[in-house]
């Protein structure tokens, strides 16, 4: 009835040991769409990543150096770290021997946080709603609208800077929070709409229909069913939008006033004003400035990396 088993064969020595190892690593089972590679690749990737990251690393390192150390030749890897730069970000003497005064950077950091945060949130809100509209209720000129929206992203800032500049001056929006927030929201909208629309397009409609039949209003369907499924898209939009507005320079330079200045503009003034750039100070500003972005990216990394996988062009 059942098959008989032939006598087991003794072990045979592997012919090519290194190839064995490589093959064994390669045949390892994986559970995701990305196959496994093992520690060998980690080594290569680590070397590449560290080299790539080095300029950033050097900036962070410099923020702990004294003015002399920063300019030291040959470059110093080992030095006694100091926190004076971080203090100087907020309070320092503008000229040698002068009084120590508040630099106003606390305000600038707040401005950057506030402006970026609000504009990203607004873009997310308006953009997601609009993307939902584009996806679920296609209008007659849908493709045209979407194309125009996409192209606004592609416009050189230079083209719109002049009329916007005039517009802001004329309407008194120049130097106000409202003006620059509105502008940044507009910057983030095309990306938000495009990304969220492609996510909404992917959703299965049956769940929504079932919910509607059960009596949920459209609003509830949107919040309870659609939104949770597109978290990855929201994450991606947030991170990219944040990076964009956080570091934006040109418009901030021209359109923010003294009270609403953002950190990048303040940074450029730090370079221009002082004689001989205070590299340690600049590095400290940038290091501090980098922290919120890294925090947000890290917090959203799970969703973000999924977003990059599923949110882009899928035919």
């Amino acid at each position: 009835m059942t098959d008989t088993v032939a006598t087991p064969v003794g072990p045979s020595a592997p012919a090519r040991p290194f190839r064995q190892f490589v093959d064994r690593v390669r045949l390892r089972r994986s559970s995701t769409g990305v196959s496994d590679a093992g520690w060998g690749r980690t080594l290569v990737a680590a070397i590449v990543s560290i080299i790539y990251f080095f300029p950033v690393f050097w900036i962070i390192l410099t923020s702990f150096k004294t003015y002399e150390d920063a300019l030291a030749v040959p470059a110093k890897f080992f030095f006694t770290p100091t926190l004076e730069n971080f203090v100087h970000v907020f309070n320092r003497a503008y000229s040698a021997g002068g009084p120590v005064q508040n630099t106003g950077f606390a305000l600038y950091f707040f401005n950057s946080l506030f402006i970026s945060g609000v504009s990203v949130l607004l873009a997310l809100a308006i953009g997601t709603v609009a993307a939902f509209g584009f996806s679920r209720y296609p209008l007659r000129g849908n493709d045209t609208y979407l194309f125009i929206i996409l192209t606004t992203r592609m416009l050189p800032a230079i083209v719109v800077i002049i009329p916007i500049f005039i517009m802001f001056r004329v309407t008194g929006l120049a130097g106000t929070y409202a003006g620059i927030i509105a502008l940044y929201t507009m910057f983030n909208l095309p990306f938000a709409i495009w990304m969220m629309k492609s996510f909404f397009d992917e959703l299965a409609l049956d769940v929504e229909d079932a919910a509607r039949i059960d009596g949920s209003s459209d609003v509830r369907v949107f919040f309870k069913i659609c939104l949770p499924q597109v978290l990855a898209g929201l994450a991606a939009t947030t991170v990219f939008g944040l990076i964009l507005t956080w570091n934006e320079f040109l418009f901030a330079l021209l359109l923010s006033g003294v009270e609403t200045r953002t950190v990048p503009v303040a940074m450029s003034q730090t370079i221009g004003g002082d004689i001989g750039v205070r590299w340690g100070l600049l590095a400290a500003i940038e290091t501090l400035f980098l922290i919120p972005v890294i925090i947000v990216t890290f917090a959203l990394q799970n969703q973000l990396l999924r977003g990059v996988t599923f949110g882009t062009i899928k035919r």
């Binding site: 769409g33 590449v48 990251f53 929206i149 416009l155 916007i164 500049f165 600049l282």
Partner: protein, 358 residues
């Protein structure tokens, strides 16, 4: 204005156009365009702006009324479109109009019509062509570098390995830096006296290395910084494509005893082709707009060797105050970008028709 009686669809176009009804958006659009043109021509800028804005609001109102109830989608979409219109389309149209005048922002007198003079001046200005030449060289260099480096990085990260997440974030950090910091610090790195680059070269040659004082040196300096910053963006897009290839295709290819090269061309490449084109488009557009980095690294130098078009527009507008002329130049740049975009879309849709991985 009424909504009561419908204007019959068979009525002549003109009658439909001027019907005073709240949902007559074509009419409102016509009023807006004509009104704005008249206002700019005859009124002071401050006044004409508000007149134009009022007409724009009227137009927006008619659109909303038209859409209410009938087009839920329209309503959902309206705030976004409105914001885009106000902050983008409206200034665009305005500046387009402005380019036909000789407006100067620092002079109070009303602008006078000059027709196509601005455009003619710009197109015949040899300096403009020189800047265009600069820009194109920089664009080609930096986009090529970004595509190559981004692609290689994507290949590296295309498999799961320990610490992948952490290393991926390390590689993404250059994108998160502000242009100001990158510009300033790369200037620092390139500095002949205490820059890291010079010191590294000095280990080998014993002489300080001055990168940024030659034309090609400064170009390479800019390209290096820009490519370093933005290659991770290309990497993300290509990575998305690489990861989306179903594993079983590679298994089947292994069983079919297909060489790695052919596997790449026949299986992997079709998945990433679309995304690479997208990355190419985005980075090219951004490269054409190159302003921040150049402004901070070289300020156009040495001399004007690295002055890009965008930088020139800025100079002409804000340093020379020739507002209208710079607008004309900006519009030529815009035109170039639109042409490029359409070229891309032509290729992209043609590909989509041919062979899309399902």
């Amino acid at each position: 204005m009424t909504t009561a009686t419908e204007v019959p669809a068979t009525a002549p176009v003109l009658q439909r156009l001027i019907a005073p009804r709240w949902d007559n958006w074509p009419g409102a659009l016509a009023v807006f365009i004509i009104g704005t043109a008249l206002a700019i021509s005859f009124l002071a800028p401050k006044v004409s702006f508000w007149v134009s804005a009022a007409l724009a609001v009227l137009f927006a109102a008619t659109v909303v009324v038209n859409a209410w109830g009938r087009y839920t989608g329209g309503l959902l979409v309206a705030p976004a479109l409105a914001l885009l219109f106000v902050m983008n389309v409206f200034p665009l149209l305005w500046s387009f109009g402005l380019s036909f005048f000789n407006y100067r922002a620092n002079r109070a007198r009303a602008p006078t019509w000059v027709g196509l003079d601005n455009y003619a001046n710009v197109l015949s200005d040899p300096e403009v062509w020189d800047r265009l030449h600069n820009t194109i060289i920089l664009v080609i260099m930096t986009v090529t570098a970004q595509m190559v480096v981004g692609f290689l990085l994507a290949l590296l990260f295309a498999k799961q390995f320990p610490l992948r997440r952490f290393l991926l974030i390390l590689v993404l950090t250059p994108m998160m830096l502000s242009f100001v910091a990158v510009g300033a610090f790369f200037r620092y790195y390139y500095d002949p006296t205490f820059g890291l680059l010079s010191q590294a070269v000095r280990l080998f040659t014993g002489h300080p290395f001055i990168l940024m004082n030659t034309v090609w040196g400064s170009r390479i300096g800019i390209v290096f910084a820009d490519a370093w910053m933005w290659s991770p963006f290309v990497m993300l897009l290509v990575l998305a494509g690489l990861v989306s290839v179903p594993k079983y295709l590679y298994e089947a290819a292994a069983i079919d005893r297909v060489s790695h090269w052919r596997q790449f061309w026949s299986i992997t490449f079709p998945y990433i082709r679309g995304l690479m084109l997208l990355a190419l488009l985005f980075r090219t557009i951004e490269a054409f707009k190159l302003f921040d980095l150049v402004f901070l690294l070289t300020n156009g130098g040495p001399g004007t060797a690295t002055e890009t078009i965008a930088l020139r527009v800025y100079r002409v507008a804000f340093e020379n105050n020739k507002t209208s002329e710079s607008t004309a130049l900006a519009y030529i740049l815009l035109f170039t970008v639109i042409v490029l975009t359409n070229l891309y879309l032509y290729f992209a849709t043609r590909r989509a028709k041919e062979a899309a991985p399902a």
